[in-house]
């Protein structure tokens, strides 16, 4: 019983540490996103009349250059695997199952395409060649949010869910143990009550026989 209580305390301690991490990451993400929105507003404000950096300029054939990778670790808690999310830059030219099959390369294609230009898939290019500085700054902050904060938040959230599960299991176990202990105590009390009553019955029988 005492060990179960200690387990729950340890789990809750771990949970509060994760919660602290989560709130810190949240605060950092809020600051970063405020910066992104501020920079986008500045870019739109300084843009030529009628230009808004948004939906109208998105490339309909865009390919992701930053992708998620999920790995799993076994935890000390009995709930199994906890995923760890990471986001990193990948080469969009690398063939993915969803990308279309490339056409047969010709000599002129090879001359043009090799080496692959890393800027080709830069989303900034959707908005023109000479993009304003605030837009570039917004991109820098967005990259930081996507590569650092968002995967960390997802990882911490998953870890919290795992500890929640472990706490619930431990509480259930403790409740069962308490119920079993109470039942045992009641049985013991009943037995103790039965013993004196039998002795009294015997003594009364003895008096009658005399």
């Amino acid at each position: 019983m005492a060990s179960t209580k200690l387990d729950i305390d340890n789990l809750l301690q771990r949970y509060l540490e994760l919660l602290d991490e989560y709130t810190q990451l949240r605060a950092a993400l809020n600051t970063l996103q405020s910066g992104i929105y501020h920079d986008l507003a500045r870019a739109n404000f300084s843009a030529e009349r009628g230009i808004r950096y948004g939906l109208d300029y998105y490339d309909d054939r865009m390919q992701a250059t930053r992708k998620v990778a999920v790995t799993a670790t076994t935890t000390t808690a009995p709930s199994g695997l906890v995923p760890i999310f990471t986001v990193s830059q990948t080469n969009p030219a690398a063939k993915t199952p969803s990308s279309p099959a490339p056409a047969e390369p010709t000599t002129s294609d090879l001359e043009e395409k090799e080496p692959p230009k890393p800027q080709k898939h830069d989303p900034l290019r959707w908005f023109g060649i000479l993009t304003p500085m605030p837009l570039r700054h917004a991109q820098t902050q967005a990259v930081r949010a996507v590569e650092e904060l968002l995967p960390q938040l997802a990882t911490v959230s998953a870890a919290m869910a795992d500890v929640e599960l472990a706490v619930r299991r431990a509480r259930k176990k403790r409740a069962k143990a308490e119920a079993a202990a109470e039942k045992a105590q009641q049985q013991q009390q009943q037995q103790q009550q039965q013993v004196p009553s039998r002795e009294a019955a015997r003594s009364s029988q003895g008096e009658v026989s005399l």
Partner: protein, 123 residues
């Protein structure tokens, strides 16, 4: 328990948000459109005209139908519009995160993770 088959192909981030939120995240290079004829996007720009059924359908698509999405990001004020779906979402993959938007700052009271915390401590 999560098996490797559940997460090994999940490589994209998806986003449901207002124009500025989506633009900001797409600038980081998370946007992806699959090959035609499907041409499925991993983002949805929500404006005043977008109805809740569309948001719900895209949420369903990102969380249930598509197996290539690892993290779904949704603006908190849009999550409020389909709160019943967001709060009952419990799957490990894809991970779901609510993010603030330009006009609606982050409200911890509405965050589904912090709601779970309150439930655990019996509030």
């Amino acid at each position: 328990m999560a098996s490797q088959a559940d997460y090994k192909d999940r490589q994209f981030l998806a986003v449901i948000g207002d124009e500025d939120s989506v633009t900001g995240l797409l600038l980081a290079g998370i946007g992806h459109v699959t090959a035609p004829p499907d041409s499925q996007k991993n983002f949805l720009v929500v404006d005043a005209k977008t109805d809740n059924a569309t948001i719900e359908a895209v949420f369903e698509q990102f969380t249930t139908e598509r197996k290539d999405i690892g993290i779904v990001l949704i603006n908190q004020h849009i999550a409020d519009r389909i709160r019943h779906r967001v709060d009952t979402y419990t799957a490990a993959f894809p991970a779901l995160l609510e993010i603030p938007s330009k006009d609606h700052p982050y409200d911890p009271e509405k965050d589904s993770v912090l709601r779970r915390v309150r439930r655990l401590f019996g509030e």
